[in-house]
Amino acid sequence: MAKVFIYPMTSLILSDMVARFGHQPLGSALAIRERIQTPSVESPPLQITPEEPKKGLRYAAVEVPSGVRGRMAIMGPLIEEAEAAIIITDADFAFGCMGCARTNELLKYLVRNRPIPKLELRYPTSEEEGEKFVAALREFLESLRGKGS
């Protein structure tokens, strides 16, 4: 079972497909859950404390806005943990505010630079594309069998 980083990190389709074919999807819910279930100082809604932008310095320079560094403190460790990655290139809904948009760019840059198997796809817009979309995912995820922890 390989750990597969998914982008968009909240994607229902990718999360389901990775789990369906026997691997572990690495999405933002895992990192958020870890913070929600750890005792610390109260910092709603996501328990992002002032420590997080400091941890984000591992991934982005100090002059990068703290919003990006805070997000990277959540998502960066998942990229390091990943043994494969799937990116959907036309996920416009993941845009959000500028903090999210810039973090997304940095995430994709970091993933593409890691020496792990990667698959880039577009969302299907018809039944024909749906067949090709699932075929690509099946082929990629079955090629990962036997890899990972």
Partner: protein, 148 residues
């Protein structure tokens, strides 16, 4: 600063989305209650939320998928159900995360169709070619050609 004491420690919560012509969220919830063994199950307009110990949730998800494998989709959730930081009853408006689901839910029927294609009859997999961006050298030459 106030101390934060988490609830539901050691549990996982998973969303179950059902987009099926044969199974409604209500029917799925009833079937899930039957096999839940005391786990927390919340029925929603799109399906269910299942909360419990990781092994137990995995097992119940495996059995829930069997009801309609190509039309039931599952993903992790960071918050437990009804958490006041996320629950729409406390916040008003769309729940955070709704817009992502709103975007992907209409596409599920294409994915379901893809899953129903027999393995021997699968088409050529989707390939996405990345567009090459304009190279710096080319841009420089273009700029220089325009200078008087």
């Amino acid at each position: 600063m106030k101390e934060y004491r988490p609830t539901h420690v050691g549990t996982v919560t998973k969303y179950v989305f059902v987009e099926s012509p044969d199974v409604t969220p209500e029917e799925l919830a009833l079937k899930a209650y039957e096999i839940s063994k005391g786990m927390m199950i919340k029925e929603t307009c799109f399906g269910l939320q299942v909360t419990g110990k990781p092994d137990e949730v995995d097992e119940i998800i495996r059995r829930i998928r069997e009801f309609d494998p190509s039309h039931i989709f599952v993903k992790d959730r960071g918050f437990p159900p009804g958490d006041p930081r996320r629950c729409r009853a406390n916040l008003g408006g769309a729940r955070p995360g709704f817009h992502g689901h709103e975007y992907e839910l209409p596409l599920l029927r294409y994915v379901s169709h893809g899953l129903e294609v027999p393995i021997g009859k699968t088409p050529e997999p989707m390939r996405v070619e990345r567009k090459n961006k304009l190279e710096f050298g080319v841009l420089k030459r273009m700029m220089e050609s325009q200078e008087p």
